[in-house]
């Protein structure tokens, strides 16, 4: 049996925030795929669970031309994976969503929950980082928005203050010729956590974005590398150069899933594979 807690399901965001602010021992429940495991193992003792799935509007998944993509806090990972517009415009996000855990977990887990959990290896973090996604937060002091890059503050730590919840993630619209690709290195294909996760994005103007997960305390953008890549054409030589260069920008550790040495190697190999795959699609 799980430890003792109460269950509340407010219908409005205002009620939810008021409850959160006045009951510090509360955890927000969206999909529960991370939370329920912590509760079962008694790693987390709480007084209340606040289920946000009854709040109107949080299940909104919408694309508007010129504005971009809106993903509400209750939108499922499988909804992101199956969305036609995301496959077309934000392919790396769709790829990453399809690689997250198993079909059953993707039917419960939410995109916002994946980033709030703030695992160093969060599958959906690297596409959101390369797209410069914004995290929409609401709390007792009102609304605020922060770039996804500033949302991750440490291992399993995020920028939320007490009483605050993430209501949505938004991604700017992508222009014609914008290409992005996600790959995940894991011990087995299918249901497994990432040993390394990586996304590369290249705009028509050759502006390049690289983000990587599971090789530092938080998912990170590799800004120095990005500047270098802007002035290079995607070729076989560049891919080989990138394979070695990436290793200078990551900070992996040894853990249950792999050694530090392996993560260095896998980061390089993954970067080369992604660049090669993008070149095959005509990205220069």
């Amino acid at each position: 049996m799980l430890s003792k807690f109460n269950y509340v399901k407010p219908e409005t965001l205002e009620d939810a925030i008021e409850f959160l602010a006045s009951n510090p021992g509360t955890r927000v429940l969206a999909g529960g795929t991370d939370l329920m495991v912590l509760l079962r193992r008694n790693l987390l003792i709480i007084d209340h669970i606040l289920d946000i799935k009854g709040i109107e509007g949080l299940d909104r998944l919408e694309y508007k031309e010129g504005e971009g993509l809106y993903i509400g806090a209750a939108v499922l990972v499988n909804e992101v994976f199956e969305s036609g517009i995301i496959q077309e415009k934000y392919r790396a996000l769709s790829q990453a969503a399809g690689h997250l855990a198993s079909h059953q977990l993707r039917n419960r887990a939410t995109l916002v929950g994946n980033i709030c959990n703030a695992s160093p290896g969060a599958d959906l973090s690297t596409p959101l980082l390369v797209y410069n996604a914004m995290v929409h937060i609401q709390g007792p002091e009102g609304k605020r928005e922060i770039p996804i890059e500033h949302f991750f503050t440490g291992v399993k730590r995020n920028a939320l203050k007490p009483g605050e919840i993430v209501t949505a993630v938004t991604i700017p619209d992508m222009k014609e010729g914008d290409s992005s690709y996600y790959k995940k290195q894991a011990r087995v294909k299918g249901h497994d956590l990432a040993t390394v996760g990586m996304t590369i994005r290249r705009t028509a103007e050759k502006e390049t974005f690289v983000a990587v997960a599971a090789v530092s305390p938080t998912p990170i953008r590799l800004h120095e590398l990005e500047k270098d890549l802007k002035n290079r054409t995607f070729t076989e030589e560049t891919a080989l150069w990138l394979k070695d260069e990436v290793k200078k920008h990551v900070f992996p550790i040894t853990d249950v899933r792999s050694s530090m040495e392996y993560r260095f190697l896998a980061s390089g190999a993954l970067a080369k594979k992604i660049m090669t795959a993008m070149m095959e699609e005509g990205v220069e």
């Binding site: 049996m1 799980l2 430890s3 003792k4 807690f5 109460n6 269950y7 399901k9 429940l29 529960g32 795929t33 329920m36 495991v37 509760l39 079962r40 193992r41 669970i49 289920d51 799935k53 499988n78 855990a101 198993s102 079909h103 059953q104 977990l105 039917n107 419960r108 294909k189 299918g190 249901h191």
Partner: protein, 182 residues
């Protein structure tokens, strides 16, 4: 337990059931395999425990209890989910399908028949979860290829038979369903 509460100046008698640890129980209404239920549950109860303890439906299995193995897979509102990771309180208003709801009376479903025909089970502990993941796949894709079958059962572990006969059974069931259930 009944208590009198003051609500907007009036004394209203409220009857609330409490758990052993003193928490108010949650009232949920839901459908399982076509039957309607109303239950008052402990807020910490999982959906899997609800099936086992309240409804006495033991077909759904508990393996890891953490969403890794898929033995507890059921279909909730048309989607395959791990019932160990869902709170009973969350199923208010939901429509559920468990392994007990696949066949009709004593007649097994095509999917179940094909699992037997292809020896797609040995100890049988993963079978209810495998069946529910496969059911969910065939509902959304009546003509899956082998890669799609593998992807659909990637969250279901089998530790004895192996996956080859299971994939063959799902492939064959898909074909039979297309032919026989038009």
């Amino acid at each position: 337990m009944c208590s009198t509460e003051k609500v907007t100046g009036k004394n209203i008698e409220k009857c609330i059931e409490y758990t052993e640890s003193g928490l108010p129980k949650i009232t949920i209404r839901f459908e399982v395999n076509g039957d309607q239920f109303e239950k008052h549950v402990d807020p910490t109860m999982t959906l899997l425990q609800l099936l086992h303890h309240e409804l006495k439906l033991f077909g759904t299995k508990e393996g890891c209890g953490e969403g890794e193995c898929g033995a507890c897979s059921i279909i909730m509102n048309g989607k395959a989910v791990n019932s160990c990771l869902v709170l009973a309180a969350e199923v208010d208003g939901a429509v559920l399908l468990t392994v007990e709801g696949l066949g009709r009376g004593n007649e097994l479903s095509i999917l179940q028949q094909e699992f037997i025909k292809y020896d797609a089970l040995q100890c049988g502990f993963c079978t209810p979860g495998m069946l529910m993941s496969a059911r969910s796949l065939l509902d959304r894709n009546p003509e899956p290829d082998d890669d799609e079958i593998k992807e659909a059962i990637e969250g279901n572990f089998c530790r004895c038979t192996g996956y080859v006969p299971i994939i063959a059974a799902v492939r064959s069931a898909a074909k039979r369903e297309r032919e026989e259930l038009k």
